[in-house]
Symmetry: C2
Subunit: 465 residues, 2 copies
């Protein structure tokens, strides 16, 4: 009977959508209301909306793009055009905008908006040495699936680093994953249900939004300050929104480069404890810090805080591997989920290569040099951006990001679109902002700012009225 009621509600929703398409309230290529939003508008459960959208998709009337919602189909639309359909502003602030432009850009494109270091800043010698060593390793490592939790050698190396920070973890606390993003995805699979609410910083790493949309989560932003999330806003959100999860970068936050203050760390963790909130601390920029700043995972001891990390930013983004440090009972469930969805752990070839590079002394030396090189690059970048009226919101203590405010009233999405036409990929503020309140900001990667052309193109785009 509930099933029948469900079907009736579903059909009502389907008719409502068909009507909006008929009267052109929704045109081909338009994005449909979010599952959660539409559920509220129509006073039904998100599940009913999901079912209605799914059946309309089966009818070919709409097309699901889980990353970015549902769109009205149109036979005459070229596939690529579907990506960022909708109002112009919306196309620019699509959380996929920067990923697509920078991952698929050819060598001629300049990428001051991208999220990684130039290849020649990475420890190429150590990687090549590691590959030659791999060519001589045993058959099993080269041909077999890995163990479900990943190479013990690499997990042990991580435990050593955790111990240095004051986290007493065991092998049962660590799971190696295919990447840092896959690590967060597995945690979402374990803990989230469609319609659950997740807190993120506003601004936050744009792919958190894309990932959470893929899980049909409801994403709520907490205003971010130079010392971490605005604690009173965070506390209010806990009461008002009853979130299941909070995902954040504590150190060298993406996109601002800010790091959590001890007081904010303590208050955030206390509030989380009071409300039984689970926190995912994405720590992939850890090694860029001159000295470790406060970590929620350290204060908490891997109880309600789960740490994820990867080696993509400091060692290689081509050799994919990430990790999760969490409660052993969660690690067990996460390992099963990784078997179900990827079979086995990450590539043994990848983990053996990474373990080899980390074990050798070269990695520590590489990071020392990298930190110094980036300190210079951050200063140079600030000096070169200043004449354009671009001012860092905060001066980060490490890493490669500068979060800069544009001179009076400029819309970073419009500027990013102009620069894209000139072969320069920027990261406009609103791709990072759940509330769409960062239109006056751009995120710069100081390691990708060598070319003088970036500044002339940027200058022109800013001057353009």
């Amino acid at each position: 009977m509930a099933k029948d009621r469900g079907l009736t509600r579903t059909e009502a929703l389907m008719d409502a959508v068909r009507a909006r398409i008929a009267n052109r309230a929704l045109a081909p290529g338009d994005r449909l209301p979010s599952v959660r939003g539409f559920a509220r508008t129509m006073g039904v459960s998100p599940f009913t909306v999901v079912e209605a959208y799914g059946r309309l998709e089966a009818e070919g009337i709409i097309r699901a793009r889980r990353g970015s919602g549902f769109y009205v189909t149109g036979a005459d639309l070229p596939p690529m055009a579907l990506a960022g359909m909708g109002p112009t502003r919306e196309r620019d602030v699509d959380p996929f905008w920067v990923s697509r432009q920078s991952l698929d850009a050819d060598a001629s494109v300049l990428k001051p908006g991208c999220g990684w270091l130039p290849a020649d800043w990475m420890p190429q010698g150590a990687i090549r040495k590691g590959l030659r060593a791999l060519a001589r390793t045993d058959d099993a490592a080269l041909a077999d699936y890995g163990s479900t939790r990943g190479a013990p050698a690499l997990r042990r190396l991580l435990l050593g680093r955790f111990a240095d920070e004051g986290i007493a973890a065991t092998m049962d606390h660590v799971l190696l994953t295919g990447s840092g993003t896959q690590a967060i995805d597995l945690i979402c699979r374990l803990l989230l249900r469609p319609g659950d609410t997740v807190l993120v910083d506003d601004p936050c790493y744009f792919n958190f939004q894309a990932l959470l949309r893929a899980h049909q989560a409801r994403v709520v932003g907490v205003p971010f300050t130079p010392s971490g999330p605005d604690v009173s806003a965070f506390e209010h959100a806990l009461v008002r929104e009853n979130p299941r999860l909070y995902i954040t970068n504590s150190a060298l936050h993406n996109p601002t480069g800010a790091s959590l203050s001890p007081q904010t760390a303590h208050r955030v963790l206390s509030a989380a404890s009071a409300h039984g909130l689970t926190i995912v601390e994405d720590d992939i920029f850890a090694d860029f810090e001159p000295a470790p700043s406060p970590r929620l995972a350290v204060l908490d001891g891997l109880n309600r805080v789960t740490r994820i990390g990867s080696f993509s930013k400091t060692l290689s983004a081509s050799v994919r591997c990430g990790y999760i440090a969490a409660r052993p009972d969660w690690i067990e469930g996460l390992a099963d989920l990784q078997v179900a969805t990827s079979f086995g752990g990450p590539s043994p070839v990848a983990t053996e290569l990474i373990a080899g590079v980390l074990a050798g002394g070269t990695y520590r030396k590489h990071m020392d040099e990298l930190r110094q090189r980036l300190a210079r690059a951050r200063k140079d970048a600030a000096d070169r951006l200043q004449p354009l009226g671009l001012v860092p919101w905060t001066m980060p203590r490490g890493g490669f990001y500068l979060w800069c405010r544009l001179p009076g009233g400029h819309d970073s999405a419009a500027i990013a679109r102009r620069c894209m036409a000139e072969g320069v990929v920027l990261a406009p503020g609103n791709v990072f902002s759940v509330s769409q309140s960062a239109g006056g900001f751009l995120r710069f990667n100081v390691a990708q700012l060598d070319a003088a052309r970036i500044f002339s193109v940027l200058q022109a785009a800013i001057s353009e009225k």
Copy 2:
């Protein structure tokens, strides 16, 4: 208001579960009813059950193991014990049983139940040569993220193979993924909603069940025959169950080794077309065939049939890479989903290595030798199993599986448990069976049957009363 109704229903469900635990109808470690089943019993939507279970989990009363359902917690239960909790029989038929036992087995364990070839059967020379070549490749390939759809060189190689089969595909039809399993997972993310029904063969690859449970799909089995699925049962299921998806292996089916007949292929595809059903054809055993048998993807031309594949079975399971061949508009959505959930495509180091091996002539030569070696191994295995009363259900035309019926009335789960105690991992029939009707079968990997001890342990287990 709908929200309030939802909460009331949710709380009612939570109380119902609490009551069952209180009166010991559900003991610590017991598995809770499936989301779908419980929704039906209680006359509510699966979404409500998911919400109730989620909140009971937050209270610590139950623990979610997405791969295998929800379990009543018990402070005194050791974490590992939770894995296969429930009645003894259930523990043996957990779809994770074989994965866990074989992936995490140490070198001393014999694995005639595992799903891959011994490392020394793989093209070690070509892999090592490829690694040495990688050590000399350009910086970008070693350090950068890959493009969102994966290395063009490898995608082009795949297009060439498709063309040989009669599939006219373009670069827009192909997406490289982190593994074959990840390929299917991405398709499920794009097309499935919680509670959707998915058809699988009965028996089928056990991880299909684990993966579909992670998507909260309702899994329905179709009886499998030596020429493919029982077509009239398939047609009935389409009418009765209105499935969203059918996942199958057309060639060298796992676990039976059977291949689809031309007539069955045509009828399955016709029925799918009549009901608007999407089919995922998992083709990872393709290269083991002496000559290609019928493929749904070929008959259909990648319209409603999506092909997935990987190189884990023939080249290396350590160098993870899979692919999806599907409609360009789906590939576009799948690429976005892969960015959201893994960031970027598969490891460029992995794809460059695989493309190098495939492009060289050695791979074709390796596969020719491998097919001959496996033909001998299949015959030898059948000859050695026959005296134990183990008879192949069908004699496969290729690959490394033999699906054998046990002598009179033996339960393969009990035998697998006995052999496990002796350090021999078997694959008991019911881990492959949605209907739990394959308890009289074992799946053998003929490439993992060298050790004489396997047969003595098996003999003892079968004789044991």
